[in-house]
Symmetry: D3
Subunit: 304 residues, 6 copies
């Protein structure tokens, strides 16, 4: 169960109203790498986790991410607060309001008109947050890798946001949030590597004929030097495309068993919809072709 305290984990100090910057900050409120995604990712994992230590860790970090959602939401709100009041009370001349919310350096119109200046759960482009962002699958050796990656991405997005503002209070709070992603990544790394036999993830081993093959499918100039990812010391590199086809030794063609009724039905469908390869049909495109197009198709121009 959760409890809440009105004090933030980190004090938010915004210098002045800036709805355009508020908009950018939404990336970490309702964006794919943002704090709602982080909080719900760890919270749902925590519920399902069987290992008591990791369950505790996941609740700890989920709770902190919720608290970060509150911090970034307050940054958005403080950057919007003055503008929100103006629009709600209609204090600007109409043209001024329009310019204010659509002008250069400020595409905050959705935030203002639709959401009234509060922090909506969208990314900076106005796309509503979706649980499709969350990639939890319920296997710790995969989910912990996903969490490590998620923290790495969030760290980078904060870094870019820091590069976009010169408001010292905003920079300061963003730096705290960015730093915490680093700390969380460290915890998730420890949790992953404290599981023995975490690679390959899951239970079934791979087919040993194919676990160390590297198919060199992109060819042509420029040809780079090999790297550790396709070093023949570790990988069997297959560069001949023919040898990449039907590597099981079969025909490479799909087949399926069907009942006689199914064969009949499929054949009937095939016949009904067959194209006649010998035909040279007049087409709709030819009926309406421009003179140039008609000439290119070798048909007479349409006359009407």
């Amino acid at each position: 169960m959760f409890a809440h305290n009105k004090r933030l984990q980190y004090t938010v100090r915004v210098r002045e109203t800036n709805p355009g910057l508020a908009n950018l900050m939404l990336e970490q409120f309702g964006g794919p790498q943002g704090e709602l995604a982080a909080a719900t990712r760890y919270f749902t994992q925590a519920i399902a986790e069987e290992d008591p230590g990791r369950k505790d860790m996941l609740f700890d970090i989920a709770t902190e991410e919720l608290s970060h959602l509150e911090v970034i939401g307050n940054i958005v709100l403080m950057l919007n607060r003055g503008a929100k009041g103006r629009l709600a009370e209609g204090v600007d001349a109409e043209g001024d309001m329009y310019r204010r919310i659509t002008g250069a350096g400020n595409d905050s119109h959705i935030t203002q008109v639709l959401y009234g200046g509060g922090p909506p759960l969208t990314n900076s482009g106005g796309v509503p947050w979706t649980a499709a962002y969350i990639d939890t699958i319920g296997e710790p050796t995969a989910d912990l890798r996903s969490n490590i990656a998620a923290e790495a991405r969030a760290k980078i997005v904060y870094e870019r946001l820091i590069n976009c503002t010169d408001d010292p209070g905003v920079k300061d709070a963003l730096t705290f949030l960015m730093t915490r992603e680093v700390a969380h990544q460290k915890s998730f790394e420890k949790a992953l590597y404290s599981i023995e036999n975490n690679f390959p993830p899951g239970k079934l081993p791979g087919d040993p004929r194919f676990t160390s093959v590297y198919f060199n499918l992109s060819q042509g100039e420029p040809v780079p030097a090999p790297g550790p990812w396709n070093d023949p010391a570790h990988f069997e590199v297959v560069s001949d495309f023919e040898q990449s086809l039907a590597v099981d030794g079969g025909t490479g063609l799909p087949s399926c068993g069907m009942t006689p009724e199914e064969v009949t039905a499929v054949s009937a469908m095939a016949v009904r919809t067959a194209s006649n390869p010998q035909s040279d049909p007049t087409t709709g495109a030819e009926l309406g072709a421009t003179p140039q197009a008609a000439a290119e198709m070798g048909v007479a121009p349409t006359t009407r």
Copy 2:
């Protein structure tokens, strides 16, 4: 530029029509951990990659994932092929067709009625594929971690699909696809660790006051043993909630600068929408309350 050969990378042999199983297989065709997600993930990274060796690797693997999309698509198609013919040609009595596509062990109705038995880019529940599944952000030290995690997840979903079928040809092809995820993970791991200074990702260092703090925010019984993710040898553990508040030493309350006009407008909005805390207003709920609810609210039951 791409070229295509009609032979598959792995031969698909399906024993018999099974639209319900076809549906499950969609998870890896148009699902979040599936092959379209993998192929487009690496393809878009390949385009943007500055390192020539990694660019080559990303194109190699993207091309293979496209080829896997073709393999899994053919598994779906072969499992559906007989059923597709029956529906298209209307060869079943109506009740039979209805039972066939909605019956026990088979919720393939969307696949059949809407998509005609071809492989649609949806997951097994019919949710259309979305690029929101792809978490590429354009920083290699984050994206390679995302790729490692994506391969781990895909490996697990294949493992579960293998556990759901006893068709030997399907199992065989799925095992090949699962194995290749293992091989790809190995390549991405090599690529990540061949970047020096890959942790923390990006360029800005964290604030050293907070990089090794662990906030113990989930408390109460049961209390698990500490693990390496919050071991005091590596982390400064903060268990006192008061010390987790406003860790910057400030008030923990948000503030923003506003112009006098903004202050006026915000105040006007606040006054216009203020709740009177001393009021005890009659509410809409009270107007229409059931006798029990009215009693609980201490109001007279409505009479009309």
Copy 3:
């Protein structure tokens, strides 16, 4: 800032594994009327609220809804826990596993295969949660009405879920959750009606010519008795369709000012894409018509 305790607000006691029922319960975990929607709805409103009392109330209720998300998530997990173990460890014969997750009374395959038996943020049909469910617009006299409606809807969905299970522990926990929606509705009603002048919401008055008009646009039998919503005592009822057209007294046709260049460009587009109303063109449909269709269209059947 948030804190978490490992004890739930209400004890969850599940009698036996039932993944199909777990699936239904997702409606209130990641569905449109579910607890994530409730928690994020009130949390984002709380951040933006200017009235200190209502801000406090919104945080109180948001925090409780988060705690309810945890309760319903644990119901889902407990109903799935046994099944999740079986799939992860592959302990069933393959056909059994397939039947287990797709059989009658159980369409839990997405939950099992994709999410590994953990509680995903989807509705019971597998549709990922989206912030499009949240209708907050940042004006308290509208948002409180939205909250009242949201609580009413959530109450009903819980009622239906209660009607679907005979597991006493599940019924008991659902009844608690349902009851709390009633309590929350009561608080939101009090908050709305303690704002004076809350109708019409916002600041601009309506145009008095149209605030009490009722356009009777659906006609024909059966004609019901008038009700209080179109009682002539309160509404001016307009039943003549002609009088519903262009009620401003104008032409009812749209017009716009354009520069000469714009007029020229629009005319050029119109000419370029004009249909010749005198023409009787041969169409693509006629080229490929079946004999019956050709006869209906009065064209000669295609011969090839």
Copy 4:
């Protein structure tokens, strides 16, 4: 069944081409509070309504909202018409066209390039309309509350749009549309309150132990005065967090019955994926740490 007349319900007079403003107006065409949402919301409720009078009202209002969709669509079109011609006919120098559709005060590029200047069913940020915006659940005492809230929201968004334009014809038509939302809200209010026993909605009563409890879960400074929503005269206020836990008197911990096979499988999964709490594993992060990060983690910097 529907019929259509080419005259609008309200005459649309647009002063001059303004694609940026056209874009804002999309909020009420294809946005969440817009007229398509309103029309389809009432139309689908009308179909399912059992009460003949309310069914009639819902069709009346749905039909009017469709007519409003036409009005707002014509506002969008008229504001775009000149620009649409220019782009379609390519009459501008290229750089001019680019500046025209991406310049200050005008982010109409999606509307122009993708939709050709016609009114698309998106919000002002280009997000496609989704039926996820509609919250109908098929219980009149809930749906009428949802309708009341929807009208309140739509009224506010129109108010904001009116504040953003100084084109008198646009203001005039928007004021009409805004006013009608007020009238509709009045009808829906009458319809709700003419249902006796409409609170709590539905049929099941709440558990009386919890219908009037208020959990004071957000604490800390600033502490506002109580309001009518948590006035002890009406609510039992629980401020002690410990008393908010496991309010049923149980352990607050989830439990489930499992078969012996399930217990075995869950245990096997737990063992396979257990983290060793005594371990201090080397992690991937440590392998690639920067010197600073390595120092913070207490590991030797990587040498290669």
Copy 5:
């Protein structure tokens, strides 16, 4: 402006309650090829159409499609009506209700629990309708082709639904709806071909070097006979992959101009994130490898 009559365009007679069939019917209510998509597609085109005759036609057909939406909505409702009453009033024993809405041949649980048995704007799998289904782009020579295709698709989906039911009233109404798609396609065909010079659509001609080239990019067995789509009489067939590369005669490699500052920044990023191709780094996967995986990678098994 629209008006409504309570009589349907076609009488709906449903034999008996069948929520599973109701669910299938949703495909044409809120599915991608359904009547809402059709109605809104033509309605939005009608608003933007400059040709008065086509504008009239588009409104005629849009209005009819709205009326069809009402017909199919009533089919859904009538099939659900009995079940809706049972759930709302809780008249079944709990287990019965669960079996009723999740049992074989009936996956109507979302419709019942979430939508209360009314017709929701989703497809038969529960996916909410989205305006992403609508492909209008505001150029009549493209949009009319899109409309022709849309009618063809809708005709087929109705055909499949007809094949799934033996309720004569449902079959009868579906046949009417299917037939009207055929009639609409005929009108759209006439409208397209009455535009002279409708191919290629738009204004810019293609580059004549490439308008009739056919790139034979899929090769390998089986090699089908050529068809009219790549008949050398009409197309220049390029089968040599090398000749498909860089057909402009350039290098086939992308290039861009950059300022010196940009060059410097890009170089810095490249250096910072470069992979060392000579390295053979220890990876995270190696740290946690199973003995088999460690052997395959040529590393020592982890000991702890």
Copy 6:
């Protein structure tokens, strides 16, 4: 199976960094008419196609569209490359970076901050690509019409993009891509018309009573001249609305069979939720009305 060559099908030469233009180009990368939609549309059709010649054609064109996705992706990347370096390395003063990514003529902030300057699978407004864009239904006579329409749309969007840039290398590559859509449309036309009896699509004939009826449902001024789409020579035009109702000759009212238990349950629901038409209830709106609204409603203003 696919293979890849590092040379593009068409050489991309970008003159200078222009992230705003890069953003526009996304329309054809991850937009609804873009190359991913094209490639996946034809690829999935190819898998399911039974006609060997058309299957080959679909793979040929799918493979080319993938190659076009690569071309347009490289245009995006080259236009962004300089900006991407600046943001990643933080080389600008903060205010400069903010202005750079949000300034006039450049709303590329999502691309830069979230995606790091690489090409994301979104449209130009940042909306993630969705498979809902793909309208394949598995019947060739419908799918080929859909493909023809899709090529027509893509041609137009390229035409508009060409009109928006004066960078000669970008124009040149876009012209190639546009031209290829024309060539593909020609192939799809040939494929469609080489199927005999392709209209009406599918197998069931329409009901001859309704295949040539034209319902004139939009009336009122202005009345355009009839066109070939409603020419009485080909269509039976029904202009009397009464004759458009219940064209089957029935009542036009829906009906359904129900069991006695169902009748009882539906009646109970109807009674429970009935509105009393004789009532004149006080409503929530009246409780909180402004003085003006109270006067309009004929109720006393609220006093508190």
